[in-house]
Point group: C2
Chain length 237, copies 2
Amino acid sequence: MNSIEVCFTPELIHLHEVKGKLVVVVDIFRATSTMVAALAHGVTEILPFADLESCRAMQVQGYLIAGERDGLTAPGFELGNSPTAFLEGNYAGKKLAMTTTNGTLALDKSKCAAEILIGAFPNLQATANYIQSRNLDVMIHCAGWKGKFNLEDSLYAGALVQALSGSHANQEDGAIAMSSLFAQVNENLPDYLAQASHAKRLQNYGIEADIAFCLIRNRYKQVVGLAGDGALRVIEG
Amino acid sequence: MNSIEVCFTPELIHLHEVKGKLVVVVDIFRATSTMVAALAHGVTEILPFADLESCRAMQVQGYLIAGERDGLTAPGFELGNSPTAFLEGNYAGKKLAMTTTNGTLALDKSKCAAEILIGAFPNLQATANYIQSRNLDVMIHCAGWKGKFNLEDSLYAGALVQALSGSHANQEDGAIAMSSLFAQVNENLPDYLAQASHAKRLQNYGIEADIAFCLIRNRYKQVVGLAGDGALRVIEG
């Protein structure tokens, strides 16, 4: 059996061994859900940026630019951080440069992993299947909210720990806690998360459709990973 | 209603507002359980130290010295970190200087709180009752294990959130997650925690009696808090 562990926020990543592991970066509301949706609906690649300026600068190179801060589209950006913007395939064939409050930071702090995947509920099972084709210890890196633990990312972590129970031993405290909690919540996930602080924040922005989308399970067979050139692409499916 | 939140490790305390709050410091295996046991069985005060040397220096002032690192009694110390050492009242009337791997650090990092209590299962309900007599927002500061999340401290946090549900609104993600998990585990706490990484570490030291003691609920009516002079004392009961 391989091992699996959960890092609840990028603020704790220095306490985890990243090197040699397969790291799954998770920012359910909404960065990684948006990445999966965009690539599943025809966007050819996504370049992630930690800061707004570097991201904005990609526009002159023909990239569509997506920038979000604190849940809102950043000034001067074409797109924010909405997965539902991609569902009609309006951006198929385009390249996307993207920066978000938490998700792109978690990605940045996972850089020395053996392999990096992007986790989201809509392609949970496809991601689990792909991981089981690799022989690597797994670390699930939750983006959290401004450094703090959040419910939606850690519940995804619990769901992935559960999906990998046949291949990855559930022995680390964070993984144990979250797989138990996910087993308890399971089908009530949307209602349970309606209590979560971030969901409440997002509800204030009138993006209920985004929230609902982010909690759909297993709509896509596409697995998303970070390629050697620093771009996120569909690596399987 | 007052608010309640959970900080899973001292590594995240800078993201929480401590000032003005009642902070409950928790290190179930075993620092805070030992503090409660010692004071409930007649130790008159405990001076907590972050480092071994300052702690050891208190011996010449007549303090009994207790030092633990990585689960073992530190070299040259009279006592380690075992709550059961105090249960016969052998140290009644003594003053104790104490340093532990995680617990005393969490205490140190809680210093600017309005009030600091020591949390443990053996005096859970007494602590909850005392908190309800104060009109303060609560932060539960889990000591964790070397900066990481651990199951036993966070499950205590969940138990305390539940015990305070009549007075402190459960709206923060860490508090929501852990009160749900505690409700699920509840009577199976010892078996559930037998999976936890720290319990496994301690089992290797042959201290099953300590672990069993740390999970007993509501044996004591004594509430333990940090006094103005920096000593831990029974403040009620």
